[in-house]
């Protein structure tokens, strides 16, 4: 067997699924319910010191010097470090290493990390921070991407004179322009063309657990870091690079993790700081960020300003789509290279595009760095395009749901940008939300003030593009069979709350015929577990799941052989299920799996196995063609029911029906949890959240009171509907469920507001002020006043 084997979407035993497909409690549910689960900040080591980090008060400044002598002299302080202690740059994407663990010569946003202190307790460390003198030379700060684009100097990331002469990019972080098919001809041949401008604001992940890291450096030179990371493997590589240690001497462990959503994907300053401080002091060092610091760390949703132009024929079929996107990257690259591609590459489904062009530019600004947030890079364009589809439907006088149905790309197709789409349950998703919301009898028929809106989307199930290109598997697992009847799974996959360890348990129990309780999982410890690339791009169920099936199928052969030999029957008669082996032709003959393991261990020696998964060769044949290529795509449709209060401008979402094609639902309860959590997060971004800075670049409200995330009372009724398209390559046909269902929430609200009161909200967030302004404009336009057009032009900045 090999890492590229396809295992098919059928049950492993002819008797059918016994574990998969049922609502199973999670492997760690009761540990979490009783408070027994240990998160990073719950860990305490003897003699442990506490670290705190000094942050920049300037949005953009050169560091002339740092004097830490007074801090170091404070009783209880054990060490102070600055950028000079860790001068090697890193970046999660190897092509853009532009970060220092602590600022070396420049700070690039208010909150950028400058120095770190290790002391007996947090109070002492905080007192020491106040004694550090930093001499700054403030530089012009860029807070708007248009400004940074128009003014190449001073550069936020300075190039050498040679680089400047060769490829002077000013403050451009990444530019991608790709064209597929003849866009001009498509637009010229269209019966209707809509061109408009859309804006997506910044939002951030806000996991309830703040980032935390704990480091220990042993006398024999092994660095161990426990961290609230969602990608252990990349943290290990980054620590080794920056601290100049061999990767084999760095161990990274992810304990229980309190939410991530993409916000714990990059290596962070605190991981390097605790490691370096532990190495310098010879004592364990922990750092827990405050909530305020979590907001500075950010790596959240990129603000985007987007111009979309789409053409359609009278029958609703799209002829061409043209996009121009300006991306505000904040102060560092992070995953920005990928973001810039994803902003264009992930739009080419679930609808057929005959011709498509996108031109996206990511620009550095002096704000907290943006990065991957749930639905990385594609939530913003999806918002713009799904609103534009409704505008096309309006122009054509067509039902917006019907317009989407007519443009469905189909199954087993190649997209215009060369991506392979196999299973595709989008039509079933549309049918499901249409029926559940009673769309046919209610859309465009509700009284003014209340409306229904629809939107669709597509997302990747893992990516063909590993962050560092290499020919090794993307997912590896190891199984250990114990003669007690227990199987232990070792996986580098990160369970960040989405339940990947529970899925691992279900797959192994299904394959080896075990009770789920007899499978335990050890995950995300780089010393114990084979490499997996971690929890991002919605890859873990798909890739780790396939790796587990690979390992189990190899082991199963041994187990079946041992039983067949013991019973003196042909192997085809042996079946396993739910803790027992039985003879298909003799119901009386049974063995417990414990007995089976012992027979097999006696026959084959100690039992263990590895398994792996790697993506098939996919992607378009052009530069960047593998970015956005995925072995499978998930599909979603939403219908939102919203109410608009025309007096206050307040939008209330009453109901949200979400139909998501996740392939086979391995555990429908966990799938539903992902669907509901995604929709909640999208609705929150549209109506409540805004990750903004003030005119000095200072975060507008780095607290959970000011950055308003919804409570139980603010969250509408969410109706999760599961569509199972059975993917040909996913484990038992499964695809992702954790990111796709966020996308349509946001445009569906805008479209519902149009149905309710006839205004188009194209600029996020949908605040009462914007609703009132649009209603006023609507009234003015009804009066036919010239005033309205002037007001509209003035209210919109048009950078694209």
């Amino acid at each position: 067997m090999s890492a590229r084997d396809v295992h098919g979407n059928q049950p492993p035993w002819p008797e059918g699924f016994r574990v998969v497909g049922r609502a199973q409690p999670k492997i760690d549910g009761l540990a979490k319910a009783t408070g027994a689960a240990l998160y990073t900040d719950d860990l305490v080591l003897a003699g442990m010191l506490h670290a705190k980090i000094l942050r920049s008060p300037h949005a953009h400044a050169r560091i002339r010097g740092i004097d830490a002598r007074a801090a170091l002299a404070l009783p209880g302080v054990h060490a102070v470090i600055t950028g000079k202690d860790m001068p090697i740059k890193y970046g999660v994407i190897p092509w853009t290493p532009d970060e220092n663990a602590l600022a070396l010569d420049k700070v690039r946003f208010i909150g950028d990390e400058v120095a770190a202190v290790a002391a007996l307790d947090e109070d002492t460390a905080n007192a020491a921070l106040k004694l550090i003198r930093v001499d700054y030379e403030p530089l012009r700060a860029f807070l708007e991407p248009e400004d940074a684009l128009a003014t190449p100097e001073p550069q936020i990331h300075e190039q050498t004179p040679e680089q400047k002469a060769k490829e002077h990019k000013g403050n451009v972080s990444k530019h991608v322009r790709l064209e597929f098919g003849d866009v001009e001809a498509g637009l010229a041949g269209a019966d209707v063309v809509v061109s408009d401008h859309y804006e997506f604001h910044g939002t951030t992940h806000t996991p309830i657990e703040p980032h935390c890291a704990l480091a220990q450096y042993s006398a024999d030179g092994v660095l161990t870091v426990w961290s609230s990371t969602q990608i252990t493997h990349y943290v290990q590589k980054a620590l080794a690079r920056v601290l100049e240690l061999p990767e084999a001497r760095v161990r990274v462990i992810q304990p229980f993790l309190g939410g991530a959503f993409g916000g714990k994907s990059d290596p962070f300053a605190l991981e390097f700081a605790v490691a370096k401080l532990a190495m310098l002091t010879g004592r364990p060092v922990k750092c827990l960020w405050t909530r305020e610091e979590v907001f500075y760390a950010h790596r959240g949703r990129h603000p985007m300003k987007m111009r979309y132009t789409s053409g359609a024929r009278r029958d609703g079929k799209l002829t061409a789509v043209d996009a121009k996107i300006l991306i505000d990257g904040g102060s560092y690259s992070s995953f920005g290279l990928v973001t810039t591609y994803y902003a264009g590459q992930l739009l080419t489904g679930p609808y057929h595009f005959p011709a498509y062009r996108f031109d996206s530019t990511r620009v550095f600004t002096n704000k907290p760095p943006c990065g991957p947030k749930r639905g990385h890079g594609s939530v913003q364009p999806r918002f713009a395009f799904e609103v534009q589809l409704d505008q096309l439907a309006e122009e054509l006088g067509m039902d917006p749901l019907e317009l989407r149905r007519r443009n469905f790309q189909g199954e087993n197709v190649q997209t215009v940008n060369g991506q392979r789409v196999t299973s595709n349950g989008f039509l079933a998703c549309l049918d499901a939300v249409e029926r559940a919301s009673a769309w046919k009898t209610r859309h465009a028929k509700l009284p003014r003030g209340r409306g229904l809106g629809v939107a669709g989307s597509m997302y990747i199930s893992g990516t063909n593009y590993p962050v560092y290109p290499n020919p090794m598997p993307q997912a590896g697992v190891q199984l250990k069979l114990d003669r007690s009847g227990l199987v232990t799974v070792f996986t580098g996959g990160n369970d960040i709350g989405q339940g990947s360890n529970s899925i691992a348990r279900a797959i192994v129990a299904e394959e080896l015929g075990l009770e789920p309780a007899d499978v335990r999982v050890v995950a995300a410890d780089t010393d114990l577990c084979p490499v997996d690339l971690g929890a991002y791009s919605s890859r873990v169920t798909f890739m780790v799941g396939n790796a587990l099936i690979d390992a189990c199928r190899k082991l199963r052969t041994k187990l079946v052989t041992a039983v067949a030999e013991h019973w003196h029957v042909h192997a085809a008669r042996v079946a396993f299920g739910l803790g027992a082996a039985h003879d298909r032709e003799d119901a009386a003959r049974r063995l417990s799996m414990r007995e089976v393991f012992q027979l097999a261990e006696a026959r084959f020696d100690t039992l263990g196995e590895t398994g792996a998964y790697n993506t098939p060769e996919l992607g378009g044949d052009y530069r960047g063609g593998t970015i956005g290529a995925s072995p499978a795509y998930s599909f979603t449709a939403h219908v939102v029911e919203a109410e608009v209060d025309e007096e206050t401008g307040r939008i209330t979402v009453l109901n949200c029906w979400i139909a998501h094609d996740c392939g086979r639902a391995l555990n429908p309860m966990l799938v539903a949890g992902q669907i509901e959590g995604s929709a909640y997060m999208g609705i929150a971004e549209a109506l409540m959240e805004d990750h903004a800075v003030n005119r000095f670049g200072l975060h507008a409200g780095p607290s959970l009171l000011d950055y308003r995330i919804p409570t139980a009372v603010d969250t509408p009724e969410l109706h999760a509907l599961i569509v199972e398209s059975l993917d040909p390559e996913g484990p038992y046909g499964a695809k992702e469920a954790g990111e796709g269902p966020l996308h349509p929430s946001i445009p569906a609200i805008s479209n519902a507001v149009f149905d309710a009161v006839g205004i188009r909200l194209r600029h996020l967030p949908f605040t009462p002020a914007k609703v009132l302004a649009a209603l006023r404009e609507q009234r003015d336009r009804a009066r036919g006043g010239e005033v309205a057009r002037t007001a509209r032009v003035a209210s919109e900045r048009e950078p694209c």
Binding site: R18, V19, G21, R22, A23, P25, K26, D28, G29, L30, K32, A33, T34, G35, A36, Y39, D41, D42, H205, T206, P207, I208, E209, F256, G258, G259, R291, G425, A428, D431, A432, R435, A436, G497, Q498, E515, L578, N655, P668, M669, V671, A672, G673, G677, S678, A679, Y680, M681, S703, T711, A712, V713, T715, E717, L718, H719, A720, L721, I722, S725
Partner: protein
Amino acid sequence: MRVLSLDVNGDRTEVAAPAHWTLLEVLRYRLGLTGSKQGCDKGDCGACTVLMDEKPVLSCITLAGMCGGRRITTIEGLMPAHLAAGGSGPDPVQAAFDRCGALQCGFCQPGMMLSARALLNEKPHPTRAEIKAALSGNLCRCTGYTQIVQAVELVIAEAAGAEPPAPAWAPGYNPWKSPRSSAPSASPRSDRDHANEAEG
């Protein structure tokens, strides 16, 4: 330093702690009761919620020095109290959160479950709106609250001997009908497309 006399989960203990320490700091860093979480340290998120004389309080903004003579219950205290009262296994709130999938990352849930416990102690049959209101001081970022509310409704239904409401995603069967057991109790999903029967 100050010596505090506390009653935590029924244990009377004496703890020395700085005078400005909060109840959360004493619980986590002196008593090792790390089930109570710090999410914001400002009283905004509710992850640190504990019960003080049966009422939910935010332990991150409660000075430990003010807790003398009060009965404190943390998440670690729920199951032992349930067992001591003659129950089996975890508290029904904890069991229901587990059975309904309400624990994703789990970080906010100790506080959430204690708020739910306090609500049900005071009012055994709250409406859905009352449940949401009682939990609105506890922020969750994973679930969208749906499975949390379903878990609380499961506790209420089972206490009344009634069947809990089935979720939208389970057409034709109710995954929460019978209590947790090692053998799967829910009927399996068929291989065909469930969208056909997914009436919300």
